[in-house]
C-alpha cells in the first residue's frame, strides 16, 4: 500500500504542477504568439517595420543600454563596498539599495515628475534653459534606472560575500592597485553572477511600463518605448501589430531566462 502510494503521489503531483504551469504560464505565452501570427509571419514582420514601431524598438534598445551600463557600474561599486569593507551604516545602505523593489512602478515614475515636471521643483527652471527631462527621453531613462536599480547589486552581493576578501588582499599585497584588483581578481570570479544580474536588469529595463507611462508623454516616434507602443496599438484596434511587438519582447525575455538558467547551472557545476 505504502509503496504503491509512494509511486503514485509523485506522478499525480508532477501532472498537477505541469497542468498549472501550462494554464498559468504557457497558455498566455502561446496566446501572444498565436495572436501575433494570426495573419501570418509576414504580416507580423511588416507591422514591426512601421516607422513608429521601429522608433519604439530603437528607443527601448537605447534606454536599456544606458540603464544597464549605469546600474551595472553602480551595482558593482555597491556590492564591492558592502562586501569588502566593514563600516557603520552598511545595513542602512543595503536597505536603501533594495528599497526600489518594493516601490510601485507608478511611484517610480511619479518621483521624477516631482523633481523635473513643470509642476516639480526644478522642471520650470530647467525648461527655461532648454533642458527637457520629464516627457522626454531623459525622464524615461531616470524612471527605468530607478525600477531596475537593485538587480545587479543584489545578485552580486551573495557571491562576493562568499568570495571573502582574501584574494583581493593578496592581490593588493602583490602591488595591484584598486582598479586592477577589482577588474582582474574580484569581477572574473563573480562573472557568472554579474552576467546574470546584468541580464535581469536588461530584461526589466526593456519591459518597464508603469514608471515610463507616467513620465513619457506617449509621443509615438519620440517618447514611446516598446511597451508603451504596445498599449497604443492595442487601444488603436491594431491587435496583430500589438501582439507582434509583444511577441518580440516575449522572445527576448525567454532568451534572457534561458541564458540565466544556463549560467546558473554552469556556476553550480563549478561550485558544487
Amino acid at each position: 500500500m505504502t509503496s504503491q502510494s509512494s509511486r503514485i503521489i509523485p506522478i499525480v503531483l508532477t501532472l498537477l504542477s505541469y497542468t498549472i504551469i501550462g494554464l498559468l504560464i504557457v497558455l498566455p505565452v502561446a496566446l501572444i504568439l498565436h495572436e501575433a501570427l494570426r495573419q501570418g509571419l509576414h504580416t507580423a514582420f511588416e507591422t514591426l517595420k512601421d516607422p513608429e514601431a521601429r522608433s519604439a524598438i530603437r528607443l527601448t534598445a537605447c534606454v536599456t543600454a544606458i540603464v544597464t551600463v549605469i546600474n551595472t557600474a553602480g551595482g558593482i561599486a555597491a556590492a564591492w563596498t558592502l562586501t569588502k569593507y566593514d563600516f557603520r551604516g552598511a545595513r542602512l545602505l543595503v536597505s536603501l539599495i533594495e528599497l526600489p523593489i518594493s516601490v510601485s512602478p507608478v511611484i517610480a515614475g511619479l518621483v521624477w515628475l516631482l523633481l523635473f515636471g513643470r509642476q516639480g521643483w526644478w522642471g520650470n527652471w530647467l525648461g527655461h534653459h532648454g533642458l527637457h527631462i520629464a516627457f522626454a527621453v531623459p525622464g524615461i531613462v531616470l524612471a527605468t534606472l530607478f525600477v531596475t536599480f537593485p538587480y545587479v547589486a543584489r545578485t552580486l552581493m551573495p557571491y562576493m560575500e562568499q568570495q571573502g576578501r582574501a584574494a583581493e588582499e593578496a592581490a593588493f599585497l602583490f602591488g595591484a592597485g584598486f582598479w586592477k584588483t577589482l577588474i582582474h581578481v574580484t569581477l572574473p570570479d563573480a562573472g557568472w553572477a554579474l552576467l546574470s544580474g546584468v541580464l535581469l536588469t536588461t530584461a526589466r529595463a526593456m519591459g518597464e511600463f508603469g514608471a515610463v507611462a507616467v513620465i513619457s508623454g506617449h509621443i509615438p516616434g519620440v517618447t514611446e518605448t516598446m511597451p508603451l507602443h504596445i498599449e497604443t496599438l492595442y487601444n488603436g484596434y491594431q491587435s496583430v501589430a500589438a501582439f507582434a511587438m509583444a511577441a518580440l519582447l516575449v522572445l527576448v525575455a525567454m532568451t534572457t531566462v534561458l541564458i540565466r538558467m544556463f549560467l546558473e547551472r554552469s556556476f553550480r557545476k563549478q561550485h558544487p
Binding site: S5, P10, L13, T14, L16, Y18, I20, I21, L24, I25, V26, P28, L31, E35, I70, A73, G74, T81, K84, Y85, F87, L93, I97, L99, P100, I101, S102, V103, S104, P105, V106, I107, L110, V111, W112, L113, L114, L115, Q119, W121, F149, A166, A167, E168, E169, A170, F172, F178, A203, G207, F209, G210, P227, L228, I230, F243, A246, A253, V257, M261
Partner: protein, 289 residues
C-alpha cells in the same frame, strides 16, 4: 596562490579596512544611491506637505482612495494565498522528483518576472476576456473573470508565482535528507513528515517569498490595468488611482496617495520580516536559508 594569501593574512591581521579604495568605492555607491533613490524619494516624502497639510488631509478623507487601497491589498493577498500552495507544489516537484522536462519548466517559472507587464496585461485580458480561450468557456459557466476584481487576482497570481518558487527552492534543495529519513524510520507517515518537519523549515522562505510577491502585487500597474475593468470603488487599484490623479493634474493628491501606498507597503514588509523571524526562531533554526 591560496597558501600565500593565508600567510599574508597571518602577517597582517585584519584591521578595519585592509583593502584600498574604500572612500572611492563608497563615494561611488553613495553617489549612485543618493541620486537615483534617496533624492527622488525625498521629493516624495516632502511634496505632500508643500502646500500645507491640506492635500494630505484631503487624501486621507477620500473614500475612493480607501476603496482602491482595499482592492489592492485584498487582491494582492488573495493572489499570494493562491501562489503559496502552487509555488510550494512546483518547487517540491521540481526539486524532489526531477520529472522529465523539469529544467524547461524551471526556466518557465522565471517568465512572469521577465515578460514585460504590459505584455502580460494584454495577453491575460485577451485570454480571460469574454471571447478568450479561458474567458469564453468560463463565461458560459457564468464566471466573469476579466474586467472584475477576479481579473486583478489572476494577474497578480501570475506576477507573484516566481517569488514563491524561487525562495522555497534553495531551502528545499539543501534540506537534510537524514532528518526526513529519521522521521520515516520513527514511523511518521508522509503527511506527518511534511507537516511536522518540512513545513516549519519551509515557513521562513515561504513567508519572505510571500512578502515580496505581496509588495509587488500592491504596486503592480501594467499587467493589472488591462484586465481590471478599472471601476472606481470596485476594481480600481491604488497605482491606477495615482495615475488618474496625475492626469487630473492633481499632483498633491497623487503624491499623498503614493506616500500612503509606499508607507503601507513598507509596513507590510516589516511585519512579514518580523513574522518570519519569530517563526524561524520558534520552530527551527534557520541555517539553510
Amino acid at each position: 596562490m591560496k597558501p600565500l594569501t593565508v600567510t599574508g593574512l597571518r602577517y597582517f591581521p585584519r584591521r578595519r579596512q585592509t583593502l584600498p579604495g574604500f572612500s572611492l568605492s563608497l563615494g561611488l555607491t553613495l553617489l549612485w544611491t543618493g541620486l537615483l533613490v534617496v533624492l527622488p524619494l525625498t521629493a516624495l516624502l516632502l511634496r505632500p506637505w508643500q502646500h500645507g497639510i491640506g492635500p494630505m488631509l484631503h487624501a486621507l478623507h477620500d473614500a475612493r482612495m480607501y476603496a482602491a487601497l482595499r482592492v489592492s491589498f485584498i487582491c494582492a493577498f488573495l493572489a499570494v494565498l493562491i501562489d503559496l500552495p502552487i509555488g510550494l507544489l512546483l518547487a517540491w516537484t521540481l526539486v524532489r522528483y526531477r520529472p522529465p522536462g523539469h529544467r524547461a519548466v524551471d526556466a518557465l517559472i522565471d517568465l512572469p518576472f521577465a515578460i514585460p507587464t504590459a505584455v502580460t496585461g494584454i495577453a491575460l485580458a485577451t485570454l480571460y476576456g469574454p471571447g478568450g480561450w479561458i474567458g469564453a468557456p468560463a463565461g458560459k459557466l457564468g464566471l466573469k473573470l476579466a474586467f472584475s476584481p477576479a481579473g486583478i487576482v489572476i494577474a497578480l497570481t501570475f506576477i507573484g508565482l516566481p517569488f514563491i518558487v524561487r525562495s522555497v527552492e534553495p531551502v528545499l534543495r539543501s534540506f537534510p535528507k537524514d532528518v526526513e529519513e529519521a522521521a520515516f524510520l520513527l514511523g511518521a507517515s508522509g503527511w506527518q513528515r511534511f507537516c511536522r518537519i518540512l513545513l516549519p523549515a519551509l515557513a521562513p522562505p515561504l513567508l519572505s517569498g510571500a512578502g515580496l510577491a505581496f509588495a509587488r502585487g500592491i504596486g503592480e500597474y501594467g499587467s493589472v490595468i488591462f484586465i481590471a475593468g478599472n471601476q472606481p470603488f470596485h476594481s480600481e487599484v491604488t497605482p491606477l488611482l495615482i495615475v488618474m490623479r496625475l492626469q487630473e493634474f492633481n499632483y498633491d493628491g497623487a503624491t499623498s496617495i503614493a506616500l500612503i501606498l509606499l508607507v503601507t507597503a513598507l509596513l507590510c514588509l516589516v511585519a512579514v520580516s518580523h513574522l518570519r523571524r519569530s517563526v524561524s526562531s520558534g520552530l527551527v533554526r534557520e541555517d539553510s536559508a
